[in-house]
Amino acid sequence: MDLSLELAVPSRTEYIAVVRLIVSSLVSARRTVAEERIDDLKLAVSEACTNAIEANAAAGQDQPVVVKVWEAPERLEVCIADSGSGFDPDVLPEHPPVTDPERLNFERGLGIPLIRNLVDAVRFESSPAGTAVWMTLFGGPAVDGGDETAEILRVVLSDDH
């Protein structure tokens, strides 16, 4: 994979809109993916940045959030990394079902479930030194018209979430 963007962003919430804009512009210019998928990635990137900034703040870290975009012929990966104290992505708080009135007491914790739903694949690399979230979107380079390949890959490869 080739690195096509590396960005160190101040760990402050006002910069999330900038990251959304840069990543989505890059993807729409360089890849063959539907507009709707770019919206999905935009939301996933926003959720990951929010978590990264919160993780840095909780650990008292003023390190930047690092955003990287990697491209391969059939896919694009966005990595959002923080310097927080890490977490176990397999142990997330459970929410009551939406039919339970108690559900209204949970205003947070929807970010990671959303990310898992929005991108084709996601993996978390977390250690006490920080967390990196890798999000994959299938779809070929813009010149190749790779949308059909993307559909096939999505079906074959994205059954891990």
Binding site: E14, T50, I53, P97, F106, R108, L110, G111
Partner: protein, 112 residues
């Protein structure tokens, strides 16, 4: 980044809050504040019009859930106006379409 928050109280008993712009962790506190203000001013039937919203993430969704909870515990309700697929998707993925009443227009939301 500005978040537009326009209140229209000409549709009594409903109060329409039209939100414009992007709702994320940076701007959501302003939406929360506005909802808290409206409830403390005695508004009980609040319709949040999301059709001018370009982007809404889970923090924005959380603020709406908080507003709904606040209103219901005060004998009121919060409903939404939303026709944009990309915004509706956030509610669909999280199952929130069953929690909120979502209308296609302000007229529809304030009809009852």
């Amino acid at each position: 980044m500005e978040l537009g928050l326009d209140v229209d109280d000409s549709r009594s008993p409903h109060t329409v809050l039209a939100v414009k712009g992007e709702v994320d962790v940076y701007t959501a506190p302003r939406l929360r504040e506005k909802l808290v203000d409206l409830v403390s001013q005695g508004h009980r039937q609040i319709v949040v019009d999301l059709d001018g919203v370009d982007f809404l993430d889970s923090t924005g969704l959380g603020v709406l859930v908080g507003g709904l909870k606040r209103l219901r515990s005060n004998g009121g309700d919060l409903s939404l106006v939303c026709t944009q697929a990309r915004i509706l998707k956030v509610f669909e993925i999280t199952g929130m379409t069953t929690v909120f009443s979502i209308s296609a227009s302000v007229d529809e939301a304030t009809a009852n």
